[in-house]
């Protein structure tokens, strides 16, 4: 072989830029190939993606609306990731958030908004947090592989939702595969003049709060330090169990808020398609944001526009099949993953 890898001392900004550009180039190339296989002119395809996300006020509104749950799941992966943990369970925690919110809503359906909504938020956080806590506890106590556990919990969560809604105790009496409706009092208020639930502000605030926590607080530093070098962290007095439990559980709670948004703010009830993979989109978005909560806001907004709205537009306007969004997510992850090696190595001729 003519090429070899040499360890790099420092990653300059020039290198970071090159990494981003290579990723982008690979993504554009891959998307173009996908368009070719669908017999669509790539330029048309890319144009459609952009227009579908940002072309007019209507789609823009959709994008902002969807940014809320997606930002939540992005943060749900991001926070534990700083502690060195892989939370693959945002998908399931999202569902549990919906379960908690809907459950409260159906149980206290006669309460006014001022009482019901906060209770629903608590319900969502509690259920999703508890779901994540299962994995967190097992990781802290017996160092279980959290990837596998959170993942299986996703499947179980989906089945739980199906159980509740499809012919189950919460089923809509009209017989469709969904839960009874959440009462009006339990619907999340929207920003006036739009159809965007106010949870978008919660999400942004959560991101900013996380950023602040990482920069300025001891707890945030503990998480970062432990994530980089658990042994050195423990020696310095950091409580490993505390870091693991808090980061994973709070991560779960954030995903749960996404579920709250989607069930109480968008669909108006619990359904088993509350999310169809958004938990996994969150993994991609967090990676793209370099684990920085502030970047996550922008990245999630842009990526939602392109990969969620844009992808839908490809389906409806250009007739591409469903699943195109997931395909793009998968493709981008690979394109993103590949150039990462340049962070540590440079290519030299042998």
């Amino acid at each position: 072989m003519g090429l070899s890898l040499q360890r790099r001392k420092d990653t300059g900004t020039k290198t970071s830029l090159i990494i981003v550009l290579i990723g982008l180039a690979l993504a554009i190339l891959s998307f173009s190939i996908v368009f070719f296989t669908a017999r669509i002119n790539p330029i048309t395809g890319f144009k459609e993606i952009f227009l579908g996300g940002f072309g007019d006020a209507y789609v823009l509104q959709q994008v902002v609306k969807d940014t809320a749950p997606l930002l939540f799941v992005t943060l749900a992966f991001l926070l534990p990731s700083r502690a060195g943990l892989w939370n693959i369970g945002a998908e399931g925690q999202f569902f549990l958030g919906g379960v908690g919110a809907t459950g409260i809503a159906l149980a206290f359906s006669h309460q006014p908004s001022i009482v019901l909504l906060p209770l629903m938020v608590l319900g969502a956080i509690a259920c999703a947090g508890a779901w994540a806590f299962i994995a967190a506890y097992l990781k802290a106590k017996i160092n279980i592989n959290e990837i596998v556990i959170t993942l299986f919990l996703n499947w179980i969560a989906l089945l739980l939702v199906k159980y509740l809604t499809v012919g189950g105790p919460w089923m809509n009496p009209e017989g469709r595969s969904e839960s009874k409706a959440i009462p009006i009092a339990g619907r999340i208020p929207i920003v006036s003049g739009t159809n965007i639930p106010v949870t978008i502000f919660f999400a942004i605030v959560a991101a900013v709060l996380l950023y602040f926590i990482f920069q300025k607080t001891r707890a945030g530093f503990e998480i970062k330090a432990y994530g980089h070098n658990p042994e050195a962290g423990v020696k310095a007095g950091i409580n490993a169990k505390k870091v693991i439990l808090i980061s994973l559980t709070v991560g779960g709670m954030l995903a749960g808020l996404g579920g709250f948004h989607q069930s109480a703010g968008v669909i108006g009830r619990l359904r088993y398609d509350l999310t169809s993979g958004w938990g996994y989109y969150g993994i991609l978005f967090a990676l793209l944001s370099k684990n920085n909560p502030l970047w996550a806001i922008i990245v999630t907004f842009l990526a939602t526009g392109l990969l969620v709205s844009g992808a839908q537009s490809l389906q409806y306007d250009l007739g591409m099949g469903s699943g195109i969004g997931l395909l793009f997510v998968g493709v981008i992850i690979i394109c993103f993953v590949i150039p990462q090696f340049l962070k540590e190595y440079k290519v030299t001729r042998k």
Binding site: K9, E222, A225, H228, N229, V234, K235, G237
Partner: protein, 517 residues
Amino acid sequence: MNEHHQKNKIRELKKGEIAIELRGITKRYPGGVLANDGINLEIRAGEIHGLLGENGAGKTTLMRILVGEVRPDKGEIYIGGEKVDIRSPHHARNMSIGMVHQQRKLIPKFSAIENILLGDPATSIFPNIEKSKKKVRELSEKFDFNVDLDAKLWQLDAGEAQIVEILKVLYSGATIIIMDEPTAGLSPVQQDKLLASLKKMARESLAIVPFVTHKLPIVTEVCDRITVLRNGKLINTSDSISELSKEELADWMVGKKVLFDLKKPETELGPVLIEVENLSALNDQGEPAVKNVSFSIQEGEILGIAGVAGNGQDELAEVLTGLRKPTEGRIIFRGEDITHASIRRRRELGMAYRSADVLERGVIGDFSILENFVLSSLYTQDFCRGMLIDVECARGIAEKEFTNFEIRAPNIFTTVKNLSGGNLSKLILALEFSWSSKFLIDQLVTQGLDVATTEYIRKRLFEAKKCWKAIMLFSKDLDEILMMSDKIAPIYEGELGKPIPSERTNKREIGAAIIGK
């Protein structure tokens, strides 16, 4: 160039004939360091040829060249009279050159026999374990080695593990055996046995090249000839070992008087800071490692724990700092029973720890110098009151210590993993000194460092003593312990001897105690 041919040629050499010749070996590392400067060396068949030199003298590089891990810039190597080019360790092995490393290159979970057979080119696809074991046992008996071939490596101690590696090298047919610090980590009894075995091995027309830093008595006992390296150059090769005096050897090696002249300050001692009663603990294998240890240290006092590595020092330090749970006993620190307290609590009370494994536990390599200062002071109230971190305050302290300890790096935002070894050691000391600690546990004070850094670290430790910190040092360098400590206690197989004031004892006494006499 036929490797079999080489092997046979060497076997045909008679005792005293030149087996290996190095001519003009020069190696300069990227970064400018001239590790080997025109070294001419000849090693004869049947001899034990010791190679001496301080760390950085160039022995490691020369050894790695001979064994194929490093290529020389200039110079030639002749084996059995024929010029060779040793391209890789595999290649070296084919020419029957083998090396026994100081850091054992063995697999803990494998048994001894599996380790011996691993990667051996002569071993077939379906190894016949019994046959191989027999062959290994023959080798063992020949040289008085005694090790259980079916035992897993992690079950064996340092001496036995080394024997396994020696057997591995012998089994693959090596006739030139290079040994890196062969007596390191061995008890005196094991050392004697090893040296006796080495003499037997040399009689089989093997050439043995032990590389030693400064175990002079061992060298004079076993080597036929020795060569001294200093700063990359060959200083002298002596044929008549017995005529050499220790002082002459030491002079050759260091080139100047060894620094023994740092004076320990006389300090008035304060109240008892830490008291340990009947402390016991197990090691990772579940065996007792700390046995009924008791001692106390006053403010301003330095207690030196002398001992060969592997006698419970690590475990003792870990129990004191909270990284390991004791099975029995009490630790009272500043009036509080901290036997089962968290690591954080101990640090809050002022316990600092400089451990042996620097980059793993001492610092976070990806973090900057500043961030590492924050890490060591997370719970010590210096700039972390309550929930928030006072970044300005942290910067101030970091800058101050950065200058104080003369750490050679661009600034406090430099990533720590880019620091050189000496600066890293200084940084670690700085980190544990930068906060208002009251008690410092220090392992491996200055091993492996250059002279200037060593002196500096010792100076800082004395300064801390004057400020009424209590210090607990672990070292196997008896000269260092005697020089630095107020009281010395030997540790042997987990048991701590009674601490004696350093003026009332000497090297011979302590030396005897740490080997169990």
